[in-house]
Subunit: 175 residues, 2 copies
């Protein structure tokens, strides 16, 4: 992914990991945050195969997320909360992965913020009913990316990371 | 818990751990199985406090389940599958804990069988619509317990352990 501006991390920048949980596909987005500004670092997906037992898939998510955290050493993380009105079977699948992700981050000592989909939309666009395209436009603009981040799960994870950074900024501004 | 018969584990008996997952209360039941017979070993619950962050509660379940497995060294485990028709919020809560439990057992190298509530009822009573009392009666009789196991989550976990043992027996009989 090309960015329109070179970014050199400083000792004052904080690394933030955004995660969009799922058993088949977990999206991740890594950004650096300093003085209210955010910069793209990486994004991608962890995928597991449907024919494997659920326990094996969850262990793979745990292993790959642990490796990702060892590589990027995030200061904090943001994870989306589950929206109950969606398909129940999907929500239950996501919750299995989400439980494992919250545990993994806790075991690594990374404090995790939780946001509802509406909070994420509100934070990024100021509008709680924003659609996927509006969110991606804001992520692209905020991180000064040359193109739209993809796939969707990784783009969602970047939006969660930006949301976490903005909450961190609001919190720090109050101190 | 008093049993009506003394049981001396032999080198041929296999220890089975049954688990009824939940964030607030996870029930566990430990039994020994040998030659188609089952014997009670222990049962109880892991409880977490509602005021704690979800990640802390999931880590506590992971820690206590790991300690339980180190104590009892189960050969295999059985975990209930989530029944979708129930309350969605409850199902999502259970799935967070269930994901962590499946991961914990996988990390400890314990193979886990998964059963639907109907499979458990069918296996114990021969009737898929059996009520809680009928299941508890069968658990008490099968394990030759002097009284009904309680609380309910631990009793359910013992029923899952018995179901796992009976499936193991059916499998071994085919070899």
């Amino acid at each position: 992914m090309k960015t329109l501006m070179k970014f050199t991390p400083t000792s004052k920048s904080k690394r933030i990991l955004g995660i969009d949980p799922g058993v088949a596909t977990t999206g991740f987005g890594v950004i650096d945050y300093a003085k209210g500004d955010t910069m793209w670092v990486d994004h991608g997906i962890i995928t597991t195969k449907a024919h494997l037992p659920l326990a094996d898939r969850l262990k793979q998510i745990n292993d790959e997320l642990t490796a990702l955290c060892r590589t990027y050493q995030p200061y904090t993380a943001g994870v989306e909360k589950i929206f109950f009105a969606k398909n129940t079977k999907t929500a239950i699948d996501v919750a299995h992965a989400r439980g494992v992700i919250l545990l993994t981050l806790k075991q690594l000592g990374i404090y995790t913020h939780e946001f509802t989909p509406i909070q994420i939309k509100m934070t990024l666009t100021g509008y709680g009913q924003a659609d996927k395209h509006q969110i991606q436009m804001m992520s692209k603009a905020t991180l000064r990316l040359a193109e739209f981040p993809h796939p969707d799960d990784a783009a969602d994870a970047l939006a969660i990371a930006i949301c976490t950074a903005q909450h961190l900024h609001a919190f720090e501004s109050k101190i």
